[in-house]
């Protein structure tokens, strides 16, 4: 078994809406509930503000998982921002699959301002799930040059 200090610690970025999920996270904190420190929270006004490019950028810059948190359906402070988030996440998951990225690395959760406990549970569960999936190191074009540079010189010579 892995020991504690050798254990993979996933980096998780959480985009939480100001009105529900972030307040829920705040409640978890003020209630002194324990939750995994792996989640780095970015507060936005609404989950509908989460452009899918934010999610890809997080993955690109080294996140192993991304959590999007919004108000429960029907509760959005801006009427339907959370439904936009839902549709974008569902569509992005399909694209992630085609790009060979496990869709479980992207999670959408509805967490209300009163659900501190749910926030703590979600961040703990998600951390364990991503830990089990292992690190996500995106292959980049720079990698290609490194592995294939030799062939180039050979041809140019």
């Amino acid at each position: 078994m892995e020991t504690n200090n050798k254990r993979f610690e996933p980096r998780i970025v959480g985009f939480l809406c100001n009105w529900c999920s972030y307040t829920g996270a705040d409640l978890a904190g003020t209630s002194r509930m324990k939750s995994a420190p792996n989640l780095r929270i970015v507060r936005l006004m609404c989950s509908g503000r989460v452009d899918p490019s934010f999610i890809l950028r997080a993955f690109q810059l080294g996140a192993d998982g991304v959590l999007v948190g919004g108000c429960h359906p029907g509760d959005c402070h801006y009427q339907e921002g959370n439904y936009k988030a839902l549709r974008r996440v569902l569509l992005l998951k399909r694209v992630l699959r085609q790009f060979g990225i496990d869709e479980r690395r992207l999670r959408l959760e509805w967490i209300s301002a009163a659900e501190g406990e749910k926030f703590a549970k979600v961040s703990n569960d998600f951390t364990e799930e991503v830990r089990a999936l292992g690190p996500l190191a995106l292959e980049t074009s720079a990698l290609e040059t490194k592995t294939e540079g030799m062939e180039t010189e050979e041809v140019a010579a």
Partner: protein, 321 residues
Amino acid sequence: MSKPKLALYWAASCGGCEVAVLDISEKILDVAAFFDIVFWPCAMDFKYKDVEAMADGSIDLCLFNGAIRNSENEALAHLLRRKAKVLVAFGSCAMDGCIPGLGNLTTREAILETSYQDTPSTVNPQKIRPMPEYAAPEGELDIPKLYESVRTLAQVVPVEYFIPGCPPQPTQILAVMSAIMQGAALPPAGSVIGAGEKTCCEECGRPRQEKHLKRLYRVWEIEPKPDECLLDQGIICMGPATRSGCGGLCVKANMPCRGCYGAAPNVIDQGVKMISALGSAIDAQEPAEIDAILDQIADPAGTFYRFSVPSSMLYRKQTSA
């Protein structure tokens, strides 16, 4: 005074960019008169060794079309970068990876398997694959090596300018060439030239409404109304995520924009911008209902990233994630 030197090259491309250059019609004669064309494998007889013999930086302008997917493409990218003062990624393949770039949604092995074994018209019981090197009695022979991934020109060497389009429109090519021949000041390096600064929707002209999509259609499933936004009609049109500059050719022919002019200005990833737009436009709130609508998109990555898999944030299909 000697004439400025011009080179044109094709890497992993279809030849459409070359045709587009010739599509500037009789103006090609002005280009040929103004420039000394020193390298253009598609149209004139030059050898790679001719380019190698030139002094570094001696080519004033190189229009490079095609993506980088094999060792020959890459060697020529480095060679022409060395020889050219101004290197232009010409066309969608060189700029974004384009159709060859869709190869990044699979693997090199799967591509070879399909090409040399699986296609119904292939008979290859000995499973013969192309050999990069072969020792013939007359001597050693070699062919370029196919890479795992397709890359854009700028992912291989530094590039001064980008001209988008599959292919770039002749009017845009002519505008760029005329500006250069008239001695116009060059824009800052890294600029996209020969294109617009808005989205394709700006050139479309069809009236748009608030979108409430309950059903998505592939082009053959519906006869689009000619005077209504195609996206409003449920046809996935890449207009909102795509740079203007083509003049709205496809939408004017009642076909949706496929996105060949690449990401709109200030958009870092064309496909994901379209995902964002479509997420807003679909009118459903229950996951099951949303999924039923999304099922109508046959190939999401291929639709949203038809021209830009290599230049996208994800670059390629991950093989170990």
